[in-house]
């Protein structure tokens, strides 16, 4: 072992293979072009190739893959939503996630922790009961628990939150998990690439060519590419892409921030969320506490982070865990969250033929990466929306058929 390591080190040639080809010159045309090399775009490319045999596909990423919200989120995966359509959709995603390390042959550090949404008031308890009943009805493991069970799962927590907002109970969701987010992007990229999909980094889409209501191609920083099908999977950049095709949506961009503490010995097994205190926290496999809060309060197209955020967040964290008062915050960052009025995504067809939208992922889209890739691939391949995403269509707004997920999505991710 030691000898082999030494030989490898001195060999001067490190044979670690690339995850995907270093594509530089796009072809003149593709069957489909995907804008955005985040988890969603790469998963859609993977399932287009795997489920539908469509491999003449280019993924265009203006930066590096996973550099958008995919690499900025707090990686909570769960399916305890509020509407039956939402619960079914996210449940399908959790199931795909559970087998994904094996399928993509990459360790996603998928770690099943259990997920507590803490309730500090009677009205919050009511929402928890509502969610538990909807979840059970659809076959998802969620139940309302009392303070004794919370104390058992997390004895370190001050259940009175420093006397300020005593915890009354929680929604406990057994399948709640965390994962390594960048590995999801890299795994899908490698899988898609191995089936023939071409991934271009540092390649920006600058315009979309439409004639008679049908997509003809895209203008990029590496020249014009013709294609009849374009999937926009750009999360916080969705309004800019939609402007290229003159499409209005209800999406508004707000920054969403997160931070991590210095690493500690493992002590927090579960994922904890408190809507009232605007915090959620889990401990990563590296020992850092990964923490986030609610959205920044106004529209802003930027990934700057603020001191206000850490100050507000940590004061609530210390209310829950007074012993953390000496622990340091080591990193903080922000992503641009594409927020919809009903806290459900916008997926599927648009009034423009050949222009497909996978957006409105706000603060909650990491968990949906596998299922959104699968259902969007289906939608592109058949030019017909997948059954699971019917409630998420763009036209629901003008039909006044919103999919109210706010009670389950706002802080909880």
């Amino acid at each position: 072992m030691a000898y082999q390591l030494l030989k490898y080190a001195l060999g001067g040639e490190y044979k670690e293979p690339r995850f995907f080809r270093d594509c530089q010159t796009p072809k003149k045309s593709y069957d489909a072009v995907i804008i955005g090399g985040g988890g969603h775009g790469l998963a859609a490319a993977y399932y287009l190739a795997k489920d539908h045999g469509i491999t003449n596909v280019a993924v265009l990423e203006k930066g590096y893959i996973g550099g958008g919200n995919t690499g900025r989120n707090t990686t909570i995966v769960r399916s305890n939503y509020l509407t039956p359509d939402g619960v079914n959709f996210y449940d399908a995603s959790v199931k795909l996630f559970e087998g994904l390390s094996t399928e993509l042959d990459i360790n996603l550090f998928y770690s099943n922790r259990g997920h507590f949404t803490l309730a500090h008031s009677e009205s919050a308890m009511r929402t928890m009961r509502w969610r538990a009943e909807v979840n059970k009805h659809v076959g998802v493991k969620s139940r309302v628990v009392g303070t004794d069970e919370i104390a058992k799962a997390c004895p370190q927590m001050d259940l009175s939150c420093s006397g300020k907002s005593p915890i009354q109970g929680a929604l406990y969701h057994e399948p709640g998990s965390i994962a390594r987010h960048d590995a999801v992007a890299w795994g899908y990229a490698r899988g898609a690439d191995s089936m023939g999909v071409e991934i271009f980094q540092n390649t920006e889409v600058q315009g979309i060519d439409i004639k008679d209501g049908q997509v003809q191609g895209v203008q990029t920083s590496r020249g014009y590419i013709s294609t009849g099908k374009v999937l926009s999977a750009v999360a916080g950049f969705t309004p800019r892409i939609c402007k290229m095709v003159d499409l209005k949506t209800p999406i508004v961009i707000h920054p969403l921030q997160a931070c991590v503490s210095e690493p500690m010995k493992p002590w927090l097994d579960t994922i904890l969320v408190s809507g009232s205190l605007h915090v959620y926290v889990s401990q990563s496999s590296r020992g850092e506490l990964v923490m986030g809060s609610s959205l920044d309060p106004y529209e802003f197209h930027s990934t700057r982070s603020t001191f206000d955020f850490v100050e507000g967040l940590t004061s609530h964290i210390v209310d829950m865990f007074p012993f953390l008062s000496n622990v340091k915050i080591v990193r903080q960052w922000a992503g641009m969250a594409d927020i919809t009025p009903d806290f459900a995504p916008i997926m599927g067809m648009t009034p423009i033929k050949g222009f497909y939208l996978d957006a409105g992922w706000g603060t909650w889209g990491f968990k949906a990466t596998p299922i959104s890739g699968k259902t969007m691939a289906h939608t592109l391949a058949n030019d017909k929306p997948h059954d699971l995403i019917h409630s998420f269509r763009l036209s629901r707004f003008e039909e006044y058929e919103l999919t109210g997920e706010k009670g389950a999505a706002s802080v909880g991710h």
């Binding site: 800019r240 939609c242 508004v252 961009i253 529209e299 802003f300 930027s302 206000d308």
Partner: protein, 94 residues
């Protein structure tokens, strides 16, 4: 702490203000089609740029307009609704 200029109370810390969304003209509900009305309710020109927005100074209960660049977060001007300074009115009609 970021500051914002309330047209009534002057420069105050941002934490005293609440964002009220983009300011848009309401179509006439009597004459607009269902689609026009739905567009007004839901659809936004949400790409970054200089926007006219509603802001609320919460301690004094003042609603006013801010013109703000949503890409750089620079506030160009603030004024009470209908009282845009002359140079801004010109910019808008240009």
């Amino acid at each position: 702490m970021k500051l914002l200029n309330c047209p009534v109370n002057g420069v105050r810390p941002l934490s005293e203000f609440i964002f009220g969304g983009e300011c848009r003209e309401m179509p006439n509900p009597e004459t607009s089609t269902d689609l026009e009305w739905a567009s007004y309710v839901h659809y936004r020109d949400n790409a970054p740029g200089i926007k006219k927005e509603w802001w609320y100074h919460s301690p004094s209960g003042t609603w006013f307009i801010a013109e703000r660049n949503t890409l750089s977060d620079e506030v160009l001007s603030t004024y009470l609704h209908g009282k845009a300074p002359a140079k801004n009115t010109k910019e808008q009609s240009a």
